[in-house]
């Protein structure tokens, strides 16, 4: 017997990366700004997205959402109440969305064409680890954390925070009762992803939404 070493030098998630690159190209040529929202379950992704979709529609922008969930379509129904087109992606136990799921759910989406959209939001499955490895072709990855989760989340999940383009601190209406240390949270995010844009919002009071919407409009100009 002889042994032979074969160099492969290939990404383990190469198939996903290739599909994602194809999606990114489609999104760019359609001129739609695509955002991938990632956080723990319960951080407030759906609530934040509900407000975002309503506000964008009120401003005359066309926005749609894909929403990942292990089993239910509760979030999709909540989001659809905004009037925006929403499509559910049930992952049936898989803890993250991947580019193939996104590709499949863009097909045959009644009343939605990418070219007719200004914004497409993808609410990922609630999980801070696995989604960070799967590129969905998004232009902007948004990591969310709520004031109830502890200021050290970014340090515990550097893989996600370091790969994100924007961070949103949610539920700031609860900052005082939770004794949330804002300076520490901002510092921790910035240590992991220096220079990242950070938003502080509340879906209860609407705080911080104007800054977020201004950022979206600014980013959409470059799509």
């Amino acid at each position: 017997m002889t042994t032979r070493i074969v160099e492969l030098r290939r990404g383990i998630l190469k198939k996903n990366d290739e599909l994602a690159a194809g999606l990114r190209q489609r999104f760019t040529s359609a001129g739609v700004l695509v955002l991938n929202l990632v956080s723990s379950p319960g951080t407030g992704k759906t609530a934040f997205l509900e407000l975002t979709l309503r506000a964008l529609r009120a401003r005359g922008a066309d926005a749609a959402a894909l929403v990942g969930d292990l089993e239910t379509d509760n979030d999709a129904r909540r989001l659809a109440a905004s009037g925006a087109p929403v499509r559910q992606i049930n992952t049936h136990g898989i803890c993250h969305l991947d580019a193939e799921m996104v590709t499949k759910h863009l097909e045959g989406w009644e009343g939605v064409s990418l070219a007719g959209l200004n914004y497409l939001f993808i609410e990922n499955v609630g999980n801070l680890v696995c989604p960070s490895s799967y590129d969905l072709g998004e232009r902007i990855r948004v990591a969310l954390l709520s004031v109830t989760e502890g200021e050290d989340k970014p340090l515990k999940y550097p893989g996600l925070f370091n790969s994100s383009d924007a961070a949103v601190i949610t539920k700031i209406d609860l900052a005082v009762p939770c004794a949330f240390d804002r300076d520490l949270a901002l510092k921790n995010i910035n240590e992991i992803r220096p220079g990242i844009r950070i938003f502080e919002t509340s879906a209860k009071t609407g705080a911080g939404m104007d800054e977020w919407l201004a950022y979206l409009a600014e980013q959409a100009k470059h799509s």
Binding site: V6, R9, G159, E191
Partner: protein
């Protein structure tokens, strides 16, 4: 739990690559995994056993080569390795350094195959007519 999906992707990729070497057995798979790749090593080893069981790569050893984060510091103009993933600062000057040069890798670097010698395989073919019980287990 995405280690299981990752392990399944490795099994698929390695099976495909190894099929170019008929008769060979995969004895090791070497990975390059960056410190920011969000992969738990023990969990990946465990999932590797599950995912490879019953496949052509069953029994192969998974060797995980961990890569530290490397950042480029604009102030110093130098790339440096970071000791951990808790602070993205240049170790020389202490400035924040956002320019990541290494750390997100999730790659199969190489596979190690065990294959019969060319003459050995010929000999084995001819011997199938009159199998030798001692030779059979080579």
């Amino acid at each position: 739990m995405h280690e299981l999906s990752i392990a399944a992707s490795i099994v698929e990729a390695v099976t495909e690559s190894a099929s170019a070497y008929p008769g060979a057995r995969v004895i090791a798979v070497r990975l390059r995994v960056g410190a920011l790749a969000s992969v738990v090593e023990d969990s990946l080893q465990f999932c590797w056993e599950l995912a490879s069981e019953g496949s052509p790569v069953a029994g192969a050893k998974l060797v995980i080569n961990k890569l530290p984060v490397i950042v480029h510091c604009d102030a110093c103009g130098v790339d440096s390795e970071l000791e951990g993933v808790q602070s993205f600062r240049c170790p020389r000057c202490g400035e924040l350094a956002a320019d990541l040069r290494q750390g997100r890798e999730l790659e199969i670097e190489s596979i190690e195959l065990e294959e019969p010698e060319p003459n050995e395989s010929k000999r084995m073919e001819s011997e199938t007519d009159k199998p030798d019980p001692v030779e059979e287990h080579i």
